[in-house]
């Protein structure tokens, strides 16, 4: 078969980045194709069957606020919803759910296969077509040519992926899948900066062979809170996860055999994530600890497979059997699939622009693990950004970007393209400078209007947003106009300054000792607001002082972001830059002075020099143009 097929945007890969990229492009009205080896594996969770967590949950909410898929699909597949960090404030609550892998895959495939403007094609991709230095489509393994104006590649760990387990070496993307050789060669031929990373996965256990009765169990929240702003409740049955611990006996086996671990035998060059070390690493680096926690996470309601979170390993099979069976509750466990480490190439994301477009090949976009990130949420967020900007590219429009002051997505993209990665990049709330403003509860308020403007958000979601937005506005007005004198407040038992100053419900709510329930009892008109609106207002009042301050900081950030650095800036001409700083600037080509400031190793002095140079430059340009 050798037919020519014509699209605006082609997305290669059906993982989490690919699905969000394809859906985003299609939502914007572009004729989109998603090309993947196997349609059955679209939406597969290849590693830990969970969505969300700290920082990651924020990304899921933001994808949802832009009408993406991940949150809605997770709400149909979550079997243990937990809001992490409930003991702290809502800014750092992390929505997380254990996922039924099959339910997730099915729900995602249903979305993708029934999507307007989206064709799903089962084919491998051998090469990218380039015409006049611009991407023109892809060539399939089938021999078919698929034409398009932009291509988004989301092929995960397929670049020179090698699985390590003891002395075993299997070239692969994931177990049972073949690496994409032809496409890889095309990417290598572009001479992009390439790095090598590793990550690991634990053995999968047969849940029927686990002695659950002896284990501590961690239940789901009583009332699961959905990821999506579009859902008010969860209908999937909820389960509990088990908790067990490694022990000195298991540690001894691992320590004895550590030289057989692929990581410790020196076979692996790539760098692994510090936040997700293998059990070998944990025992080696934290030798004084006598136990490490393991979460036993069922992979589905009707699936006996259990994911033992916390013991990823590349030890040989027999050693895995031996140490796992020393663990309480796992004495008779059957391993269904052994753990392994995977090492793979990634493209240094500093070769990409804010739209995740490869700077040296217009029309080619990269998203997901190929850019050195880890996690479904990070992949999905990048997919959305790449899909969005691939469409804008085909329309001759500039990149649409999110900045660090408005979204975790902005933090993610900016970190990647400005600082690159030295380990698989994962989101944390501590990466977001404006954490108290960028909350998971207000992702829709922050981003849905942008999504509407960009054409990412469908009419249903837009309508829902407008209703909520106007209810919130009404609520805020009520909170500001409903007032009490300190005397009246005191009569209600509130501890406030008796300064004669009449204060609004909003002011009173900012007192740590006064709750929304107190406010409701004083003001029936506020009590009449809907529960979700009241909850939102309570959070806003709680952080009000900090949100105001962060607004000023964000304004300062945006002033720096407004100082554009031209792409053709001759850094050799800027006096006072060290060779090291100049080389970095030339490599990264920061789009703004703000971005330049976030480059690793940048000194305040170098920034001052850059600022002075750019300030002088427009005059010269004018002269040069005359």
């Amino acid at each position: 078969m050798s037919t020519a097929l014509d699209f605006d945007v082609i997305v290669v890969g059906g993982g989490h980045a690919g699905c969000e990229a394809a859906s985003a492009a299609a939502r914007m009205g572009a004729r989109t194709a998603l090309i993947t080896h196997k349609i059955e594996t679209i939406g597969e969770m290849s590693c830990n069957p969970a969505i969300g967590g700290l920082g990651k949950g924020h990304l899921v909410r933001e994808i949802d606020a832009l009408d993406g898929l991940m949150a809605r699909v997770a709400d149909q597949a979550g079997i243990q919803f937990r809001m992490l960090n409930r003991s702290k404030g809502p800014a750092v609550w992390g929505p997380r759910a254990q996922i039924d892998r099959k339910l997730y895959r099915e729900a995602m495939q249903k979305e993708i296969l029934n999507h307007d403007n989206l064709d799903v094609i089962a084919d491998g991709v051998e090469d990218v077509l380039v015409k006049n230095g611009i991407v023109a489509g892809v060539i399939g393994e089938s021999g078919s040519t698929y034409k398009s104006d932009a291509v988004v590649i989301t092929t995960g760990t397929f670049l020179k992926g090698i699985i390590h387990r003891g002395a075993e070496r299997i070239p692969a993307g994931r177990v049972g899948e073949k690496p994409a050789i032809g496409l890889a060669e095309r990417l290598y031929a572009l001479d992009l900066p390439i790095g090598r990373l590793k990550t690991g996965t634990p053995a999968r256990l047969n849940g029927n062979t686990i002695d659950w009765d002896r284990l501590e169990m961690q239940p789901a929240d009583d009332v699961p809170i959905p990821f999506s702003f579009a859902n008010s409740q969860i209908h999937v049955p909820q389960i509990a996860c088990g908790i067990t611990y490694t022990n000195p006996e298991a540690h001894a086996i691992i320590a004895e055999n550590i030289n057989q671990s692929a990581v410790y035998s020196g076979a692996i060059a790539g760098r692994g994530p510090r936040y997700c070390p293998s059990i070998e690493d944990k025992i080696h680096r934290f030798a004084d600890k006598t136990r490490h926690q393991i979460f036993l996470e069922p992979e589905g309601l009707e699936d006996d497979t259990v994911y033992p979170n916390g013991i990823s390993t590349s030890l040989p099979r027999d050693v895995q059997d031996a140490f796992v069976r020393k663990i309480e509750g796992l004495e008779n466990v059957e391993i269904l699939e052994y753990g392994y480490a995977i090492e793979y190439d990634y493209v240094d994301p500093r070769a990409l622009d804010f739209g995740l477009q490869v700077k040296v090949l217009p029309g080619l976009f990269l998203a997901g693990q190929i850019n050195g990130t880890t996690g479904y949420e990070e992949a999905g967020a990048q997919g959305l950004v790449a899909g969005l900007n691939a469409v804008r590219f085909t329309r001759g429009e500039d990149n649409a970007t999110f900045d660090r002051g408005e979204a975790y997505i902005g933090v993610l993209i900016d970190d990647l393209i400005t600082r690159g990665v030295t380990e698989p990049y994962r989101m944390f709330t501590s990466r977001a400078e404006y954490r108290l403003s960028l909350r998971s509860d207000n992702a829709d308020q922050r981003l849905t209007p942008r999504g509407i403007e960009l054409g990412l958000v469908g009419p249903g979601r837009a309508e829902m947003f407008h209703v909520k937005h106007s209810e919130l506005e009404t609520g805020r007005t009520l909170m500001q106009t409903a007032t009490l004198t300190p005397n009246e407040a005191q009569k209600r038992g509130w501890k406030v300054n008796q300064d004669g100053q009449r204060r609004s419900a909003w002011d009173y709510l900012a007192y740590p000792t006064i709750s929304m329930t107190d406010i409701e009892s004083a003001f029936p008109e506020i009590a009449a607001l809907s529960g979700s609106i009241k909850a939102q207002l309570e959070i806003e009042a709680m952080y009000a002082g900090y949100i105001e301050r962060q607004k000023e900081d964000v304004a300062a950030l945006r002033r720096e972001e407004a100082l554009k650095l031209p792409a053709d800036l001759d850094y050799a001409a800027v006096g006072g830059l060290t060779n090291e700083v100049r080389a970095k600037l030339e490599q990264i080509q920061p789009a703004t002075l703000g971005q330049a400031g976030r480059i690793e190793g940048m000194t305040p002095g170098a920034l001052t020099a850059l600022l002075a140079f750019v300030r002088r430059r427009p005059d010269r340009k004018r002269v040069a143009n005359d």
């Binding site: 960090n85 404030g89 979460f295 001409a573 060290t578 305040p604």
Partner: protein, 440 residues
């Protein structure tokens, strides 16, 4: 098209005439200037070479020593030439003209140091120290600037920020890894202990900072007393000039007369004030008000009274000096032991007053332990950091979420960071991962 940064030149030594005048040239055109004006293809780097400096027409201006330091291994990080000539007015003038005609411009004040800062040769605290070093008039100022130049302040701020990073690591670990057994869920104890210790450090440095700032900017010393006690005469004696008008009319001094001088190695601002008395004269009353304000703001007060009168010690604060004047007009004096007796008019005892002042200043500056906070910018930065830490501790005391405490600690760290450089979130994550076994 972008242009290269221009080349600057300046006379680096004092105003001619002098035995030697050194001109400094820095920038990309330096080697071109060497070729054009010294008629030498290239100079051996960092070696003194005897050269002839010529003007554009080729006429000899002077012979001198040239030292060429190619960038980046120079003070500014750029190609630099130092040219030592005979220090005549005409020679330096012609030399600068010749160099400028060959492609340089006159440097702005501080521009060489600014270029050094921009090239990453020094951080802000060191750049400030260079300015202080050059401006130093007193030994104490010089010693302070040298220490700062050596990075004492930078080290101190880095140490404080390191401590804040440790606190943040604890807080962030509890926020970002709530499900981890190893990451502490309750971090209040260790964080609050660390914050308490750090706040004490900041307060200590702020307290001493008042003194070190004085070393840099000058100590304020006020001469106070009733009208016609001889305050203006004492000021003139101490400063060895006729700064204040002296008459025998009580209330001659209406406004503050301030004199800047170096005493025993310290820079001081000595003020003569209006005599303190009840008055209906509006101008004089304003003078009295100003005198009282100066007294309150001074680091040291000298109470002067006419030996023929009595002196009311109620107004004296510990550390103040009490001086009885006009000893020439009384036969016998009955004064307390701390009281010095002088005749300002004759200069009798003035040297002892000066000694007493210097010994007081020495007492204030002895035993300083924190590095020197010499500028208002630093004091304000540290004060703001301290305020954030106070609020962080309040949040902890009230049991607010860790994100509130973390926010204040982050803001404190940023305040300190602005004194030297940046705050880097990766620093905090690095501290988290090296302290806790994370990996659910």
């Amino acid at each position: 098209m972008a242009l290269r940064q221009d080349t600057i030149c300046a006379l680096a030594t004092g105003q001619p005439p002098a035995a030697i005048a050194t001109l400094r040239i820095s920038g990309p055109s330096t080697s071109q200037i060497i070729e054009k004006r010294l008629s030498i293809k290239s100079l051996t780097p960092r070696r003194a070479t005897l050269v002839d400096l010529r003007d554009a027409a080729g006429a000899l201006i002077d012979s001198g020593l040239a030292i060429y330091m190619p960038g980046p291994n120079s003070y500014t990080g750029e190609d630099t030439l130092e040219l030592s000539l005979h220090g005549g007015r005409m020679i330096t003038e012609l030399a600068l003209q010749s160099i400028m005609a060959a492609g340089a411009r006159l440097a702005d004040p501080g521009e060489f140091t600014r270029r050094a800062f921009e090239a990453g040769k020094m951080d802000l605290t060191r750049a400030e120290a260079v300015a202080d070093l050059i401006d130093a008039e007193s030994e104490a100022q010089l010693g302070q600037a040298l220490k700062q130049m050596d990075g004492a302040l930078e080290d101190l701020y880095s140490r404080w920020r390191g401590q804040l990073t440790d606190c943040l690591a604890l807080l962030e670990a509890s926020i970002d890894f709530p499900d981890e057994e190893d990451a502490p869920d309750r971090v209040d104890g260790p964080v609050s202990d660390r914050l308490e210790a750090l706040v004490a450090d900041l307060n200590h440095a702020l307290a001493e900072g008042n003194i070190t700032e004085r070393i840099r900017d000058g100590f304020k010393i006020a001469i106070l007393g009733k009208p016609n006690a001889g305050k203006s005469t004492l000021l003139n004696q101490l400063s060895k000039r006729d700064a204040a008008i002296v008459t025998d009319i009580p209330g001659t001094t209406r406004d503050i007369v301030e004199v800047r001088l170096v005493m025993g190695g310290y820079l001081v601002w000595l003020s003569d004030t209006a005599g303190l008395r009840e008055t209906t004269d509006r101008v004089e009353a304003e003078g009295v008000r100003r005198a009282e304000k100066a007294a309150a703001e001074s680091d040291l007060r000298i109470w002067l009274y006419d030996a023929r009168d009595s002196f009311d010690v109620a107004q004296v604060k510990p550390g103040d000096l009490i001086v009885a004047n006009k000893s020439d007009l009384v036969a016998r004096l009955d004064v307390s032991r701390e009281t010095m007796v002088i005749s300002a008019k004759d200069g009798e005892g003035v040297a002892q007053v000066e000694q007493a002042i210097v010994s007081r200043l020495k007492g204030m500056t002895q035993g300083l332990t924190a590095p020197m906070i010499t500028r208002a910018r630093h004091r304000q930065g540290i004060e703001r950091a301290r305020q954030h830490l106070d609020r962080a501790r309040e949040h902890m005391a009230q049991g607010a979420g860790a994100e509130f405490t973390a926010e204040e600690v982050r803001l404190a760290s940023r305040e300190l960071g602005t004194l030297t450089g940046h705050v880097d979130p990766e620093m905090v994550l690095g501290a988290v991962f090296s302290s806790f076994c994370i990996g659910k």
